[in-house]
Symmetry: C2
Subunit: 141 residues, 2 copies
């Protein structure tokens, strides 16, 4: 990697993220789940029946991205969408049986990955990274 590019912390963060995402992708592939789809499933395993709007807020993503991720998860048979009767604009997202069964297989993978990625890194160091990244996030707002 070129030195002038590496000097930009933004690019360094971006490339770290890419590597992490690729690794997660690989580990989730056997379960037919993509990394971001997994985040939706994590929220639904905690509590399903959320609206798409709620999912978009919790994941801080555009609603169009959520629509498409849910379409994919629906096609895979992990979730179903039900129109809310009291507000017919809203869609509530529920787990299917297949979606529910996935939980006990995926959680160990997710936890295992987190342990692997933070190996040899102290809680203080993680807190420091969080603190500085938070500062960067605030700087661009």
């Amino acid at each position: 990697m070129n030195i002038s590019l590496k000097d930009y912390i933004s690019i360094f963060i971006h490339q770290t993220d890419l590597k992490i995402t690729n690794c997660v992708k690989e580990q989730l592939a056997p379960f037919n789940l993509a990394p971001e789809q997994n985040l939706i499933m994590l929220l639904l395993w905690e509590r399903d029946g959320r609206t798409q709007q709620e999912l978009a807020e919790q994941l801080q993503k555009d609603k169009t991205t959520i629509t498409r991720m849910l379409s994919s998860l629906e096609q895979k048979g992990f979730i179903k969408r039900v129109t809310e009767t009291c507000d017919r604009r809203s869609m509530r997202v529920f787990l299917t049986e297949g979606g529910k069964k996935l939980e006990c297989k995926i959680i160990p993978v997710t936890e295992g990955f987190h342990k692997a990625v933070t190996r040899g890194i102290t809680e203080e160091e993680l807190a420091e990274v969080r603190r500085i990244l938070t500062k960067m996030q605030k700087n661009i707002h």
Copy 2:
């Protein structure tokens, strides 16, 4: 954002990256340049005539991604691709006049963004973030 999701440092890094990328995207939009396309241009402004293979290595990206980014940059008229005579499998990427003219407009934007994102963050803190992120990158290999 949900607490259990926020606890995963990978997700926190991912969301930081998304915010940064969106901000860069906004600043580059007036110049008809996307964030990753800008990285290719940065490399070419430094030295053009690189092969696609070289660009892929320097940006640590898949060659398919590079092919498509270059197609887009070519369509926008910023670069041109020339088949290498001594090895007709290779393509050398050169700046067009339009691509060359872009440099003096873009560099201040890039530098300005870097200054903004690192405002109030010391060199030591940046080095610490780099050190810990590097550790994470190594952990997943």
